[in-house]
Amino acid sequence: MIASVILAGFQTTVQDCGRVGLRKFGVTPGGALDSVSLRLANLLVGNPDCMAGVECSSGRVRLKVDVDRLVAWAGGEFEIRIGDELIPILHCARVSAGAAIEISPKRGGRAWLAISGGVDVPEILGSRATDLRAHFGGWAGRALRDGDELPLAGESKLCSRMRKELSGIISDWSAPRFVPRGRFLRVIRGKNWDDDIGEKLLAQKFRVAMNSDRMGLRLEGGEILPGNPRELVSEAVAPGTIQLPPSGAPVVLLGDCQTIGGYPKIAHVITVDLGLAAQLQPLDEVRFELIELEEARALLRDRERDVALFRAGLEARFG
């Protein structure tokens, strides 16, 4: 039971929901940069939501399975085909043994592909996610290369019941989009927020710099002069934290960010908008909108309730 990587694309990695509880050892949570997209894709094929799948970013990816499987994907603007059949986003599709899954970025961003059973690489420190900086987890601690052979785990009962209900190639069930779409990332105030810096952050349009990666989005085109350019005593940072280094160009931390940092934390992108941040590519424009902490938490609770309702709906139909 293997998914062969015929074409690996660039920075294609095995990811799940990441590592929990290891920050004190400097181990970053990592995992799918938009964990909701991965979770929905997993639910659509009958997997537990945090099974390991494949995160694609740029370049064409072709995978070939040697067993009959179900697949689903979510994320940015991609074209994903099995043979001639175009697989719509957030649907479940049947792929037969020997068939290839073709993933082509259109406008691109990032996409997450779930395969029924999940990618069965060894669990390291409680997760199958690839930690690219520390070179462990996922497939050999690195991005996929042509010729890699990803082991697949056995399918759940839910998977086989879904397969029975799937008359054609593409399912009549689908998931709603939970990732908000927009050009604004919503933020809440950070510890080192001040009204002067905040006003500049909210008033300007920024551009994502070329050297952005899974650790963070480096922003340019709207310098903010730090009121106090000295480094602070290092303390914890998190995905979503907007740091302001002395250069005045803010950095939005993403899932693979360091666990601690010494730059001022001026604001934080709210958790429900991290999936949107994960879709930003170099040269994309980005703006920020300020909301209150309580609203951010309410949005996150609402989203988790929606995901739970969707899961319950699937279980009611196939369970």
Partner: protein, 224 residues
């Protein structure tokens, strides 16, 4: 103590206003972190500490109404005492030229001989203030003021695994090959990070660390 939100799913507890003594602040954060970890509050997913602060990561959908009050109460009762007897760990270091990439630079900036630098570096007991930058990288407090040198102006793209380095008031060790801007003055044969073990790091916050000078032959013999 000051509590501030670290995004919508975490809080930072900052103890800087409780003392001006760094060692005391570190003991304070370690005892607070240990108390919070032991409390197993509903919804808490991770507790971590660094220098003067503790961060608590949680799931906002699962925490209770009086979450912040409970944290406040737990932390006040944790006091200042170091929570456990500190572990003492010795790190063998070979300071030979081959490994000490920046020793000459440090010598010219500090007006000390290479031997004097090595003696100063290996005669002090350090405390692990936190682990970060990359998994297993210890930030060691206690470096002699005489060894204060700034970071490299342009960081190296590849610092070899095991490199023992200094920058400003701190000492550190690179657990694996990574980019870095600290002054490398030696190399340890020990492995500081093993992803296949849990806990994965040789060192933990609060540990006391000493460096022991070894020869190149000992380095080869002790290489892990």
């Amino acid at each position: 103590m000051k509590i501030s939100p670290l995004g919508d799913s975490a809080l930072t507890l900052d103890f800087a206003d409780e003392s001006s003594d760094r060692a005391r602040l570190l003991a304070r954060t370690l005892s607070a972190a240990e108390r919070l970890e032991g409390a197993n509050l509903p919804g808490v997913m991770d507790v971590t500490c660094a220098y003067e602060s503790v961060a608590v990561f949680f799931d906002p959908a699962r925490i209770e109404q009086d979450f912040e009050d409970k944290i406040g109460a737990l932390v006040s009762s944790a006091g200042f005492r170091a929570p456990r007897k500190a572990r003492k760990i010795e790190i063998p270091v070979c300071y030979d030229d081959e490994f000490a990439l920046d020793l000459a630079r440090v010598a010219s900036q500090t007006f000390l001989t290479g031997d004097a630098i090595i003696t100063l570096h290996s005669s002090i007991e350090y405390t692990v203030a936190c682990i970060g930058f990359v998994p297993g990288f210890p930030f060691l407090a206690g470096l002699s003021d005489k060894l204060r040198v700034p970071r490299l102006e342009s960081p190296r793209t590849k610092v070899p695994a095991g490199s023992v380095a200094i920058a400003n008031a701190q000492a550190g060790i690179y657990p694996f090959e990574s980019p870095g801007g600290w002054n490398v003055i030696g190399r340890t044969p020990l492995r500081l990070f093993r992803a296949t073990e849990n806990p994965p790091t040789l060192l933990r916050p609060g540990d006391r660390v000493r460096f022991r000078r070894i020869t190149r032959a000992q380095f080869d013999a002790e290489q892990e």
